[in-house]
Amino acid sequence: MLVKKHKSEIDQILANYPADRQRAAVMPLLYLAQREYGYLTSEAVGEVADILSLDKTEVAKLIGFYTLFHDESGGDYRIQVCTDLPCALRGAETFADELCENLGIELGGTTEDGKITVESVMCLAACDRAPMFQVQDREGLHYHENQTIDSAMELIDQLRQEAADD
């Protein structure tokens, strides 16, 4: 249970918003739940709704609207390649295709070991350093810019190693 395990963090989050406007804490709490459970399970959504005294559907609908919330499990690491116009002009589409080919998956798919998902996403505000991607995992998000297939595959090897060590 989030409320038992992360009581002080939840209290800190709630304290950021006026007492009569606690609903504002819903997105930070969803991030906390995603960190705890890996993705937003039905139970996790229920827990967040209970903390804020909201209907579960009021919370669940946010997950469909915001792309960084996930209601199904993916790879441990989601490699999100920007393929929007400025990045595409610097070869990001070819980069994403080649990366998938190297990993033996389709764009949007997950490797057989369940570690790596590759997705195409909208602009990440790094247009001058394409090809680039962000890696989303349970703990957060990190940018990787000016990438080549070699540098990306090296990073993926490291991530797989970290996942194996955990």
Binding site: A24, M27, Y66, L68, F69, D84, C123, C127, Q134
Partner: protein, 418 residues
């Protein structure tokens, strides 16, 4: 040659450390304002400076602050949702010159007589937002934030808040909805946020770059600020240069600098000896321009770019060379808007979907000659009917593409003039 007023980290190493920022005059403007100036005096100097909002609309900042309703509490919400394709300036400021930005937020809050300011970053700025948290904690420790600042009765707290991946939250009323824990969908206006904004309270919403201008203005006055730029578009601006260009990146230049200077002097021209074909001056959100001599010699300011048929917007200048097919570029742009349409109003939700559908046919080489007219009809049909600018931008982008580069669409229908 301009001096750096925003990207000061490029000349002052380690300005991201508080002590270095303080040695370079940091937080003097804020301390003096809180001790010796009234909020109205701060608003007046920002008005006199002519500073205009850098998020895209170019609205006069001081004027916006003067519209604030009287009721309390009031809030400041900082728009750090930088998501326009081609825009990456706020990120550089927050990563490398964070204290100047935070001092700007503090000055805005003082001018607004607000005691809490929220910094709403796009969720992808996870690491940047965490760094801001650390710096805000340092400012509290060192007495630049907190209760009874500098021995006065003014108190201020800054708080960060992360979005979760939705372009629409950069639209100010959608940002407020999202910050309140709802779907990021635009509100009907009026009431405007300055009257009824965050948590139904009077709220000032400003972009990161806008606020980063404020410490210099308050410290040095409006005449100093007006040393650069034009009469109606004063100051320097960070221009984001991307696409088919030798040296992509951020360039801080006076407003009114011509496109040609940005592209050829600073950006090093077009790679591989290719010719420039088109310019997107404001990312996906303003009509595409043919790179004629007239356009290249146009000053990049809020008045001049509209005269050649587009907008300065957030000054995210994307360069397309002769190898780029504009029908493809419009497909990419439309794919973006269709994905990011919030779905609240019908013209945008349905219009972006159908434009995407038709452009898919162009991409697949299955478009009929009549599809150009159909696409143009949908694009024109969206405009003037949407709740917020997103739908307007989506329609304008496609209509502008067809108007300026019709032959690129014709080539793909099999009825063109190859």
């Amino acid at each position: 040659m301009t001096e750096y007023r925003l990207l000061r980290h490029r000349v002052i190493d380690d300005i991201g450390q508080l002590d270095v920022y303080l040695e370079n005059g940091g937080f003097q403007a804020f301390e003096q304002a809180v001790r010796d100036k009234t909020p109205d005096e701060v608003i007046q100097v920002v008005k006199d400076s002519g500073l205009r909002g850098r998020g895209g609309a170019g609205f006069p900042t001081g004027l916006k602050w003067s519209f604030l309703g009287e009721s309390t509490p009031r809030y400041v919400a900082v728009n750090a949702d930088e998501s326009e394709p081609g825009t990456f300036k706020d990120r550089e400021i927050m990563e490398h010159n964070p204290y100047q930005f935070l001092e700007g937020v503090a000055l805005c809050a003082y001018a607004a007589r607000a005691n809490v300011a929220y910094i709403y970053s796009r969720g992808e700025f996870w690491d940047i937002s965490a760094q801001l948290d650390e710096r805000i904690a340092i400012l509290r420790e060192r007495g630049y934030l907190g209760e009874n600042l500098f021995g006065t009765d003014y108190s201020l707290d800054l708080r960060t808040h992360l979005g979760a991946g939705a372009y629409i939250c950069g639209e100010e009323s959608a940002l407020l909805e999202s910050l309140e824990g709802k779907l990021g969908m635009p509100r009907l206006r009026p009431p405007f946020p300055t009257v009824r904004g965050l948590f139904d309270r009077p709220t000032v919403i400003n972009n990161v770059e806008t606020l980063t201008n404020v410490p210099g203005i308050v410290a040095n006055g409006s005449d100093w600020y007006r040393e650069f730029g034009t009469e109606k578009s004063p100051g320097t601006k960070v221009f984001c240069l991307s696409g088919k260009i030798n040296k992509p990146g951020n360039y801080e230049l006076p407003l009114g600098t011509p496109f040609r200077e940005l592209i050829y002097e600073h950006g090093g021209g077009i790679p591989d000896g290719k010719q420039i074909k088109a310019i997107l001056p404001a990312g996906a959100s303003a009509p595409i321009l043919k790179a004629t001599d007239e356009v290249l010699d146009t000053p990049m300011d809020y008045e001049s770019v509209p005269k050649v048929g587009s907008q300065l917007g957030s000054a995210s200048v994307i360069i397309l060379d002769e190898t780029v097919d504009i029908a493809w570029a419009e497909y990419k742009i439309t794919r973006f808007f269709q994905h990011e349409s919030c779905g609240k109003c019908t013209p945008c939700r349905e219009g972006t979907y159908w434009m995407r559908n038709i452009l898919d046919r162009f991409e697949a080489g299955q478009a009929a000659a009549s599809d150009i007219q159909l696409l143009d009809d949908v694009a024109q049909g969206i405009q003037g009917k949407c709740l917020c600018a997103l739908g307007e931008f989506a329609g304008g982008a496609v209509a502008g593409g067809i108007a300026n580069f019709r032959s690129d669409f014709e080539k793909r229908t099999g009825n063109g003039h190859e």
